[in-house]
Subunit: 345 residues, 2 copies
DNA sequence: CTGAAAGCGCTTACAG
DNA sequence: CTGAAAGCGCTTACAG
């Protein structure tokens, strides 16, 4: 662990060694037009030979770009979502020559920290920001970001869609499709475990379930819809209640994988084998679901792809105004993931 | 989503408005000594009034610091570890005025990407790097980082401990303590599900278990130690095998929470109620374990605190050489987490 | 306690 | 196709 204090190689050194001006070196570095193939290759050789690495700060200062894109989370911890977003975002930032900076707005005790947002925006110089849910619908955040005059893209926003570019997937359509696939296996008594009422994805998934059932002419009794909060314990309680019904369902569709895992535990408690006597499906394709027993049938939510698209939308806005694409939103595809927690009736 | 093209307020504007030199403004900004209280407050007022935000690139260029700290992961996705590391690291970077940049070295298909490492180090200007396991023991990574002459700190390294500063926790001691706590509840037939043989934490945890049993005078039969790979399915198989023994254990200690959850599933399969007829404990304090049923007794691994300490060690090295602390390692404390998956015999 | 000058290493805007 | 000059907005090193 040392710091090298010997002088760094700069663009001037390269220019001198290659017998050209620094402007020409700059052209080669940035793949600009206007350098003959001969000069270009000579400069590249010298760069390679001297191990030259451009100074990012100098580049930023003169170009007025930080080459930093921030992604802000409510909470970084304990969440598969976070890693997926970063994986996707990183693919896009690398392609574009940007670096990915992470931030979160919650205090350690889980309180929303309005000052943190202001501080983040005050002390930093992002070229753009990716806002994840539920932050992307928080008016305090949006106002702070807009006051700082920062470009931003939202992931799966709930409302006010014209306000800024966004990426999304069709939760309702996916839930409908998942429900229909249970129907096609012969299931008729299909129950649903809903997520929190104020959560966009939860609402949409519930609507998709209801729509599918309505399309098949089924009036869903209230008892078939249990309410949950996206956490495992609520799925357990919901499953427990549903399996205690006089005529229990043959299939339970939980609004996310965590709750579906809770349903599996409830089935174990009731001595109901899955999938032989009960089919269970989830939503999200969380790693927990894949390692559950039996492995959970679910819907793949393309989180990484959504984040990648979000960064792409952002970067495109930084380009030359004449060619700047004004793509306002991008929709990503879901995919049903069939594992071992379902079987035909 | 707009970009403001009006001229930014700079240090020159503040200096003019406050009637001082830019050097004095700089002193106030950086809380340097040598500015009277009167001047200081006058400058601060002007800064506030004009909404001045220092340009980070300019600061970096002249101070030869990027104020960027990188944290490199093998894989960003699907892992509770990643979020915890970032949460802790972010606490420390914020305190020190740094930003946290994330990177991963695996390609999307899970292949180690040696070129990615070189590219990361080539295109970026970190002041320092946090290396997470198992990267922190990968000679290719270490060589690349050292060749780039970058300061770095390792989290829970396996070997070659003198090579660079590091943070760690006592996995062996924790596993010993967890085993002894089962013993004190009256358990005598305590089985262990081991993690992968090439994984430092897995080895240490197994040794802690064996040490505790040896201290109590028990020669552990081979059949009591099942081998796993830290994934849930291996825990399920291990539990299945252990519960099929002629004299099954009354307690199973799994080397991590994922495998412990698999053991719970095996217990359900065997119709063995947990904790009434079988106690199950894990290790890590992963969120999965908390939402398992029954909620899992485990050992809290202070991942966030380790990451925070790692960044602290790094930042201290950047300070004035005269006061630079040469703290080489820091040990963090574990903590037993008692939930509902254990009961006395 | 305060400031004038130089310089960090690039890109931009312009000229030829 | 190529380059000389100016400038980005700070900090450093030095002087008083």
């Amino acid at each position: 662990m040392t710091r090298n204090d010997q002088k760094r190689v700069t663009i001037v050194d390269i220019a001198r060694e290659a017998g050209v001006s620094i402007k020409t070196v700059s052209r080669v570095l940035n793949r600009e037009e206007g350098a003959s193939a001969e000069v270009r290759s000579r400069v590249e050789t010298v760069i390679e030979k001297m191990g030259y690495r451009p100074n990012a700060s100098a580049r930023s200062l003169s170009s007025r770009r930080s080459y930093l894109i921030g992604v802000i989370f409510q909470r970084l911890g304990g969440y598969h979502y976070v890693g997926e977003v970063q994986t996707g975002a990183l693919r896009a930032t690398r392609r574009g020559g940007y670096q990915l900076v992470v931030e979160q707005v919650e205090t350690p005790d889980g309180v929303f920290d309005a000052e943190a947002v202001t501080a983040i925006l005050r002390n930093t110089t992002f070229d753009g920001l990716v806002l994840t849910p539920p932050l992307c619908d928080d008016p305090r955040i949006l106002e702070a970001v807009e006051a700082a005059d920062l470009a931003y893209v939202r992931m799966a926003p709930n409302a006010d869609l014209d306000r800024a570019p966004y990426v999304w997937m069709d939760d309702e359509g996916a839930a409908r499709e998942q429900t229909l696939s249970l129907w096609e296996m012969g299931h008729r008594r299909i129950a649903f475990v809903a997520g929190p009422e104020d959560h966009r994805a939860a609402i949409q998934r519930r609507q998709g379930y209801l729509r599918a059932m309505a399309e098949r002419g089924v009036a869903v009794p209230d008892a078939w819809i249990a309410s949950g909060d996206f956490f495992g314990m609520s799925g357990f309680k919901a499953g427990d209640a549903l399996l205690s019904l006089p005529e229990p369902p043959t299939a339970i569709f939980a609004g996310n994988d965590e709750m579906a895992i809770g349903v599996l535990a409830a089935a174990a408690k009731h001595g109901v084998p899955v999938p032989d006597r009960l089919s269970v499906v989830g939503f999200d394709n969380a790693p927990n679901g894949a390692s559950a027993w039996p492995p959970l049938t679910t819907v793949h939510q393309p989180i990484a792809e959504m984040a990648e698209a979000a960064v792409d939308l952002l970067i495109k806005r930084f380009g030359d105004a004449r060619f700047r694409e004004q793509e306002h939103s991008r929709k990503l595809d879901y995919r049903l993931v069939v594992r071992d927690s379902v079987s035909p009736v």
